[in-house]
């Protein structure tokens, strides 16, 4: 029996893919794990790999065609084996090159690229009767809950949020602001259930301005000393190669400020807030037809040089659309920098489920009062967008104050 090769969901949001190039051709021997083709997804160009051993006996979809996820694109079988008709199982696959198929046929249960737990049919949720009852009473959407029971079945502890359920009986969950620091405990994050007041804030604010209730805080930062530090560092590095940019310094400062304000290093998760004990900074990068936020992981623990090298590498990959999913997912907070476009200040849109993003304007000389004189100094306007369901005004302001102190006195980053 020949095995079907399906268009797979190569990114979490991918609905269709454009077959850019077949790297294997009809008649080629293939082994499980071999790259068969390059596929352009909504985010990047990814590799479609073989899930069976044998020979690529039939290619159904020509290069350049766009097909919905789940459609058959090729067949793997024994040499000489035939497949029925033209081999195209889903009608839209062959006749609709380049244009997205209207009303794509129901995706067939595909062999997911990884051992995905998501149910093949997203409308049906496998859940225990007890989990269903708890979800119904608590208003939890079971479709959004990842099941840990057999075959991804949602069970009680998934609905309740296991780590929380155990501690609540013993002691009330710690108030996040009481211990706002990021601590490397070995556990990547801590889920803290929403308090009633938090739930009400979330509901009312979301109803007021869309799903993520943003508010904005702007501050102006004096960058004279950061500029001096940068110059000195680059002079030092000249001999060794590599250069530190303002962007690198800002990313590092943001990461370090987040360590001191875990309340801003968080994800909103419908029924709880996930406070991260790790700091992963998403860095918005403009690409030809949109933007993407590659992630600098553990940015608080990396040197400026490492951040610089990584940022350049990721930005390059983003522009050539070669980012892997793990390189653009999982950020805990983001930085969007339009400094190079001569923008004084702007507001950035939060990248959910993160709770905040800072928008970086252009560093420009400005006349500022200096005692009873006026002096011209390099100034930077930074605007933080906050998800009000997670961050309150004072919380965001405290974070910005730390960020400002770090940039105005870069030596503080060494503390």
């Amino acid at each position: 029996m020949a095995t079907k090769v399906h268009m797979e969901a190569l990114s979490p949001t991918m609905e269709e893919g454009r077959l850019v190039k077949w790297t294997k051709h009809e008649g080629d021997a293939v082994k499980s794990g071999d790259t068969l083709a390059e596929v352009e997804t909504d985010k990047a160009i990814m590799e479609l790999v073989a899930r069976a051993d044998g020979q690529l006996i039939k290619v159904v979809v020509p290069e350049g065609s766009t097909v919905p996820v789940g459609n058959v694109v090729a067949w793997i079988g024994k040499p000489g084996e035939k497949v029925d008709g033209d081999g195209a199982v889903a009608p839209a696959a062959k006749s609709a090159p380049a244009t997205p198929a209207k009303a794509p046929p129901a995706p067939q249960p595909t062999t997911a690229p990884t051992a995905s737990i998501a149910p093949a049919d997203a409308t049906r949720v496998k859940a225990s009767p007890l989990a269903k009852r708890i979800a119904r009473e608590a208003g939890v959407d079971l479709k959004l809950v990842q099941g840990s029971g057999p075959g991804g079945r949602v069970i009680k502890r998934d609905v309740e949020g296991a780590p929380v359920a155990k501690t609540t009986a013993a002691a009330p969950a710690a108030v996040p602001r009481a211990t706002p620091d990021v601590r490397r405990t070995g556990v990547p994050y801590e889920d803290v259930p929403l308090t009633q007041i938090r739930k009400t804030i979330a509901k009312r604010l979301a109803a007021s301005i869309g799903p993520v209730p943003h508010f904005f805080l702007t501050t102006e930062i004096d960058m004279e000393r950061a500029a001096e530090a940068r110059e000195a560092l680059n002079k030092q590095l000249d001999e060794e190669g590599g250069k530190i940019s303002f962007n690198d310094i800002i990313i590092k400062a943001v990461a370090l400020a987040l360590v001191r304000h875990r309340a801003c290093n968080a994800w909103f998760q419908e029924d709880h807030i996930r406070y991260w004990n790790e700091v992963h900074i998403g860095m918005a990068v403009a690409i030809e037809d949109g933007l993407i936020t590659p992630v600098i992981r553990n940015a608080d623990m990396k040197s400026l040089r490492e951040i610089g090298a990584e940022a350049r590498d990721l930005a390059g990959k983003a522009r050539s659309r070669r980012l892997k999913p793990e390189e653009y997912t999982g950020s805990t907070f983001s930085v969007s920098n339009l400094g190079m476009f001569d923008i004084d200040q702007f507001t950035a849109v939060i990248n959910p489920p993160e709770a905040g993003i800072v928008a970086i304007g252009t560093i420009m000389p400005k006349a500022v009062p200096d005692g009873d004189r006026v002096s011209v100094r390099k100034r930077l306007r930074v605007t933080m967008s906050c998800d009000h369901r997670v961050i309150d005004g004072a919380t965001g302001a405290a974070f910005l104050k730390t960020l400002k102190q770090m940039l105005e006195n870069p030596l503080a980053m060494l503390l």
């Binding site: 225990s128 009767p129 007890l130 989990a131 009852r133 009473e137 057999p150 069970i155 009680k156």
Partner: protein, 462 residues
């Protein structure tokens, strides 16, 4: 040096199941056993006692048979005959395990195994090497209470090991410990005409079961003439040649019990000595069990431990599951975690006691918002028909969501009926799903559906 993927130390329930599952997963496997395959369970535990309990059941039945229109005269009991039958049953089962080892091409090494560093096991002068893992399943044994002079001497102070091999019953027997073992032997020997005194240190017999189960059994035993003394402390024991005298304090009163023999049924000791644990870096817990992580791996990588040696509940079916799970872990699979709060507990005395989950007292301690539903077998048609109306089904449910927090069955066939509730709890069914499942009529199991309904305030047959 012979080598295997997996070497299992101990051929009891945990060990032999681990070996079978390992073999099923394509790993070459050896089991080291110093005595008969099947361990305590098959040879001197679960299996022979069930055979003897059935003898006791028949004896009890014949006493009451006249009422059912069957008159049996001249009924005599002979423990020796019952014992020999129980031995045959044990031997059959042990041979069955031997057959299973052959069927799965598992090498059985006879002798006492000692673990050595480098995933090796020494048996006599031979050393075997494990390529993947060594699994320790050496089990447990009975223990006496030497502190008060009750060291097991195998004549007047005996353990279940000796009780199972008696040719003749003693005239009278004091049983210390009213857990499953004590309860079952009290039942057996009472049916064979022995005068029984059952002594329990904790405030009630069957201390780990729900208090209502303890009460029902205490009443049933006293009705049969068994002297039940709970909350009792044995302060002194005088062990004579053909009798034992125990000084007991219970409820502020002092008492003396004299019996032809004492059966020690209070606790077990794990077999962790002289098997090389320390040399391999395998640590024990404060309570003397082998310390294991979530994957049942000991403090020495590559050495796993399962069954009684890793701690309570010391039950064959808990060992079975650990054996199977550990084999899958060794083979690189990710089996579902064992739910230790969903291991059924069964005592096979008459009437039987079976339970799963929390007792009512535990619900109170945990301050859970619960509702108890009950249904007595006296209101069950099938039970009336067979004259087995002792006992009840009790279901404790969470008040808000109907989760089955605990279930307790006392009555004939309770051991068979508890699994409906085990399946329900494993799958997180609530009392409503129990009710929705249609129970055949007339059956004892209907009482489970009725107890679920009672917890919802909708009981039908009372």
């Amino acid at each position: 040096m012979a080598s295997f993927d997996v070497i299992v130390l101990g051929g009891g329930p945990a060990g032999y199941i681990c070996a079978i599952r390992s073999a099923q997963l394509g790993m070459s496997t050896a089991v080291v056993e110093q005595e008969k395959l099947g361990g305590v369970c098959v040879n001197i535990g679960c299996i022979p006692t069930k055979a003897l309990l059935h003898s006791a059941y028949i004896a009890g039945l014949l006493k009451e048979s006249k009422e059912f229109g069957v008159e049996a005269s001249g009924v005599k009991t002979d423990y020796g005959v019952a014992m020999k039958r129980s031995r045959r049953v044990s031997d059959q089962n042990s041979k069955g395990v031997e057959f299973l080892m052959k069927k799965h091409k598992i090498t059985v090494v006879k002798g006492t195994g000692v673990v050595q560093p480098g995933k090796k096991v020494k048996v006599g002068s031979d050393v075997y090497e494990a390529k993947k893992a060594v699994v320790i399943a050496t089990g447990s044994r009975v223990k006496g209470i030497p502190q008060i002079g009750l060291e097991i001497n195998k004549t007047t102070v005996i353990s279940s090991d000796e009780a199972l091999l008696l040719e003749r019953v003693p005239e009278s027997l004091a049983i210390i410990g009213a857990g499953a073992v004590g309860m079952e032997f009290a039942d057996i020997f009472q049916a064979f005409g022995v005068k029984i005194t059952l002594i329990e240190a904790l405030p009630r017999i069957l201390p780990i079961e729900d208090a209502e189960a303890s009460d029902t059994l205490a009443k049933s035993y006293r009705k049969r003439g068994i002297d039940v003394i709970a909350g009792a402390k044995v302060t002194k024991a005088a062990v004579g040649k053909d009798k034992v005298t125990l000084d007991i304090e219970a409820g502020g009163e002092k008492k003396q019990v004299t019996a032809a023999a004492v059966l020690m049924a209070a606790g077990r000791a794990v077999n962790t000595e002289n098997i090389g644990l320390k040399e391999c870096g395998i640590q024990l817990t404060d309570r003397g069990f082998i310390k294991v992580d979530q994957n049942l791996q000991t403090t020495a990588p590559g050495y796993y431990a399962i069954g009684d040696v890793v701690g309570p509940p010391m039950l064959a079916h808990k060992g079975f599951r650990e054996g199977s799970v550990v084999a899958e872990i060794i083979a690189g699979q990710k089996p579902h975690a064992i739910k230790y709060d969903n291991v059924p507990s069964v005592t096979y005395c008459h009437p039987e006691v079976a339970s799963i989950g929390l007792t009512e007292d535990q619900c109170k301690e945990k301050k859970l918002d619960y509702v108890a539903g009950r249904f007595p077998f006296s209101a069950n048609g099938r039970a009336r028909g067979t004259g087995e109306t002792e006992g009840f089904v009790k279901i404790l449910r969470d008040k808000k969501y109907g989760e089955i927090l605990g279930a307790h069955i006392v009555g004939a066939h309770a051991s068979e009926m508890i699994h409906e509730l085990a399946v329900a709890r494993e799958n997180e069914y609530t009392v409503e799903e129990i009710d929705l499942a249609i129970h055949a009529h007339p059956t004892m199991s209907e009482a489970i559906g009725e107890a679920a309904l009672d917890s919802l305030g909708r009981v039908l047959h009372i």
